[in-house]
Symmetry: C2
Subunit: 144 residues, 2 copies
DNA sequence: ACTTTTACTTTCAAAACAAAAGTAATCAAT
DNA sequence: ATTGATTACTTTTGTTTTGAAAGTAAAAGT
């Protein structure tokens, strides 16, 4: 693990863990697109390089944001799943989305336009909904 | 301006603007420590290099997160001030702080321990308080 | 058996970052 | 008015990180 903390500040320490250009995008793909495998992540719109992806997944697992397992009946694919620690990043991603919707659009006109009114007015409900929908996609694995 | 957007996703576009290791820390210093000058920022606990600081301040100004001005009676120091766009990053910083307090502390034991209960239970009030306290530090400039 | 797929690793070039020193303008003291 | 200190940078020179491309090994499909 090549993780080092700059100082004792909670904000800078958090950025030392998730403050790169890719980690939150991988988590976004998990939460909103229900992506699970290395292949899934490597085909994102931003086309992350596979070496970067591998090193990010490794670090995320080491710090406990995601967990890795094999599916029963498939020894090839790894399934990456957000832990509670990783799921708890959703509020950050939501706030980033709202800020971007309001202030970055003017800089990047091709940005997709969605209606985020519900996120703004019912934030807790929205977050819980995304979380439950995500967890639901693992039901098939959990039935023993 | 060397800012490029990877794609049309609001999250990745936001990270293209503020997703480096320094920008949010500079904004943290403005919001919580009421730092205003180049010198102020260069003496942070994380000791940012001056060339990085200069390039970040330039980009932040170009994208409209901060504005720069001279104080009357001091031609030497520049005063950097958050715009509405920059102030609107506060909710993101708050969520990062809460996540870090709960989940990063175990990785970085020297992290400062504060009580964030009020932030959690009265988030809107807290955010508004930080914002007003920040704006108040510019009152002396605004009296004409 | 052969080809494809998945999950990586390796290699090497390019970009970003970091440390240090340097510069120019202002300001403060003599 | 001159000197020294301060502020806000820029420049230079490594070092680290990132990115593109190709390569590898195990598993799966045909």
């Amino acid at each position: 693990m090549d993780l080092k903390f700059r100082c004792k500040c909670p904000i800078s320490s958090a950025l030392d863990v998730i403050g790169d250009k890719w980690t939150l995008l991988i988590i976004r793909d998990m939460l909103f697109d229900h992506k699970k495998t290395f292949k899934d992540f490597s085909t994102s719109e931003e086309s992350i390089a596979t070496n970067i992806l591998a090193s990010r997944l490794k670090l995320m697992e080491e710090v406990g944001i995601i967990s890795k397992r094999k599916q029963e009946g498939n020894l090839k694919s790894n399934i990456y799943m957000l832990t509670e620690k990783g799921l708890a990043l959703l509020p950050i991603i939501a706030e980033i989305t709202l800020w971007s919707d309001e202030y970055v659009r003017e800089l990047n006109p091709i940005m997709v336009k969605e209606n985020y009114d519900f996120v703004r007015t019912n934030k807790q409900v929205f977050l819980e909904g995304i979380k439950q929908a995500y967890l639901k996609t693992f039901d098939s694995e959990n039935k023993s």
